[in-house]
């Protein structure tokens, strides 16, 4: 039986710049260099991160909106950009003190930050580009 599906996906793109390094503090420098290569540079490197926030739901009959995109933009700015933009992810944020700031871990942190601000009846998916060619998505 086919139920009518009125769900729409809406997307908001944002971007931020940040420094980071990938390293495991329980390993020595040699093993970190072997596993993470130049990404473990102790002096950090950085990226222009591109963020795509996807929200899925049925348009509200009164507004026609799945979610007010302006509201989604403000939530993303408050929860993500103000915390990550022009920051050192390892040193300037509370989220990566005990968590390696890989694209995989950054995207799950961003998902958790946004999820608590978005109506539970709406589905949320986050895509994060670390470079043009490397990007991750959560939930998969």
């Amino acid at each position: 039986m086919n139920l009518p599906n009125n769900k729409i996906a809406v997307f908001r793109k944002e971007h931020f710049n940040a420094a980071h390094r990938i390293f495991n503090p329980s390993w020595d420098d040699k093993k970190n260099a072997e596993v993470f290569g130049k990404c473990s540079n102790p002096n950090y490197h950085g990226h222009n991160y591109e963020l795509v926030v996807k929200v899925v739901g049925e348009p509200d009959p009164e507004t026609g909106y799945v979610i007010d995109m302006k509201v989604l933009s403000v939530i993303t700015k408050e929860e993500v950009l103000e915390k990550f933009d022009h920051k050192n992810l390892n040193l300037d944020t509370i989220y990566f003190r005990d968590l390696n700031p890989t694209a995989e871990n950054i995207v799950t942190v961003i998902y958790d930050l946004l999820r608590k601000r978005i109506d539970p009846k709406l589905e949320l998916q986050v895509r994060l580009y670390e470079t043009e060619r490397n990007f991750v998505e959560y939930p998969a």
Binding site: N17, A19, C39, N43, H45, G46, D85, H86, N88
Partner: protein
């Protein structure tokens, strides 16, 4: 005359900070770019040379060789680096995109043969911000 461009890219950390100024003055001028713990970018580098095509090859210059010159003299020095503290050709200079483009020109110029005349170094710091240097 034909213009030939090779595109390369690198990722790096930096900060905008004038050591001769106070912390307050740096923050007033450079804002969040002055963050003492650095931030970073994906840089896209466009190197353009100009010349009439060689009649024997039809090429301006072997583009593979151009790529190797850029990789050896620029990318290996800046990729996954901290531009303020790890890059010899930026030592003592402000780490702006403008100065980085000039520095890249100076890195490349001596290694290009006379026939491959450097025309432009175009450097994107973000998809929306770039500089061009014509020597």
């Amino acid at each position: 005359m034909v213009y030939l461009t090779r595109v390369e890219h690198f990722n790096a950390a930096h900060r905008l900070f004038n050591p001769g100024w106070s912390k307050e003055q740096n923050e007033a001028v450079f804002g969040k770019c002055a963050n003492e713990n650095w931030h970073g970018h994906n840089y896209d580098l466009y190197v353009t040379i100009k010349r009439n095509p060689d009649p024997d090859t039809g090429f301006l210059f072997d583009v593979k060789k151009l790529s190797e010159i850029i990789k050896e003299h620029v990318i290996e020095k800046v990729d996954h680096r901290n531009l303020n503290i790890e890059v010899d050709f930026l030592a003592g200079k402000m780490c702006s995109t403008e100065n980085l483009a000039i520095g890249i020109w100076q890195q490349l110029q001596p290694h290009l043969p006379a026939e491959a005349q450097l025309h432009c170094v175009k450097l994107y710091e973000t998809p929306r911000i770039y500089v061009e240097y014509f020597g």
